[in-house]
């Protein structure tokens, strides 16, 4: 493994850690709201990853101004894509939470094992 490169790409490492944390919450936590929070953490890790890809060392914001060369600006495409991604994440979270409200009204619990009637860790 290229440890120098890993130490330099610290943002990518953080996004890997966040992704695994979110995946752990989705896979293990029985509470549906915690699963949704895990999903959001995973989404955040992807946003961090993609925005970090577009970064330029000591770069400028991609706004055309006097005296700023285009070569020093950060890549605008990941930021535009992530803006779309954030809105989609908010939309899916809203729908998931409203389904949770209905599930809680119907079953009286948000515990996935109790709803499935298994009593297992899921």
């Amino acid at each position: 493994m290229n440890f120098n490169r890993i130490a330099h790409n610290l943002n990518y490492v953080s996004s890997v850690v966040l992704f695994l944390l979110g995946l752990y919450a989705v896979a293990v936590k029985p509470n549906l709201v915690k699963k949704i929070m895990g999903l959001n953490i995973m989404e955040t890790s992807v946003f961090l990853f993609m925005v970090s890809i577009g970064m330029v060392g000591s770069g400028n914001a991609p706004v055309v101004t006097e005296g700023v060369k285009p070569a020093t600006m950060v890549n605008p495409i990941p930021q535009a894509l992530i803006l779309t991604g954030i809105v989609v994440a908010v939309s899916t979270t809203a729908v998931a939470l409203s389904l949770c409200i209905k599930i809680h009204e119907h079953y009286g619990t948000l515990n996935a094992s109790e709803i499935l009637g298994t009593g297992g860790p899921f």
């Binding site: 790409n9 770069g59 600006m73 890549n75 605008p76 535009a80 908010v90």
Partner: protein, 251 residues
């Protein structure tokens, strides 16, 4: 046992991902693959081709306009789904716990929020209107508008909020972004160019650029206000506390 298997699998995935990070190009290098393909063209010609000095706004509204139109449709569909699942808020039935407790938020909180909310909305309007030339834009401003209204609702309760923002005022605004986008798109077709083309042919350069500026501004304002109102409506629809519904009205 199952938890141990999950942790083991996650460690495996993590090691593979970290190994892949080690193979990736160094972060922040201006020669990375993502910066040599199409980004230089956007950065150099974005202002003249797309009509916005903020290149992100140029990408969102012009180069990837279809994408953004789909995104606006997605957030509108999310509102439709939430309303279909939960129904609209019912004044008198769905209440925050604050309304039911009968104890008003303290004077400090109410005064601060009464002072802050107009300032926050003013800032959001600035962000929406300056999205073309400074960092900002419709979605960001919409999120700030939604946050300010959520702040107001947390302190003053749902009845006060729905009196300030009644349903008949919110329903037309919710679909404003989609309508603004479709209107701008079909204007291009009427003028004989492609869908979502902002530069109209057969006009002088000055007139064409002015019309493009106005159209992008209308779309930004539509996205901003519709986004904020959609967030607000989703939050209003979600406020319901079953235990609280059984209790009598607050004194």
């Amino acid at each position: 046992m199952r938890k141990a298997i999950v942790v083991l699998a996650l460690v495996g995935i993590g090691v593979m991902l970290i190994y892949a990070v080690g193979e990736m190009p160094p972060m922040g290098d201006s020669g990375n693959p993502d910066k040599v393909h199409i980004a230089p063209r956007y950065l150099e010609h974005g202002e003249e081709e797309a009509g916005a000095s903020n290149v992100i706004t140029a990408v969102i509204l012009n180069y990837r306009g279809y994408d953004t139109m789909g995104e606006v449709a997605v957030i509108f569909c999310a509102l439709c789904a939430v309303v279909a699942i939960l129904n609209r808020e019912k004044p008198g039935l769905s209440r925050t716990s604050m309304d039911v407790s009968g104890v008003k938020a303290s004077v400090v909180v109410r005064t601060t929020i009464r002072f802050l909310v107009p300032v926050i909305i003013f800032f959001a309007v600035y962000i929406i209107l300056h999205g073309e030339s400074t960092p900002g834009g419709g979605f960001q401003g919409g999120a700030i508008i939604g946050a300010s209204i959520i702040l107001f609702t947390l302190a003053f309760g749902l009845p006060e909020s729905t009196r300030k923002l009644p349903l008949r005022f919110r329903i037309p605004l919710e679909s404003f972004a989609v309508i603004a986008f479709l209107a701008a798109g079909f204007t291009g077709i009427v003028f004989g160019v492609h869908f979502l083309t902002y530069l109209m042919p057969g006009l002088s350069e000055y007139a064409a650029e002015t019309i493009r500026h106005i159209m992008m501004m209308v779309i930004e304002i539509g996205i901003g206000f519709a986004g904020g109102i959609i967030f607000t409506s989703i939050m209003f629809a979600m406020i319901r506390e079953d235990q609280c519904e059984l209790q009598p009205d607050s004194p």
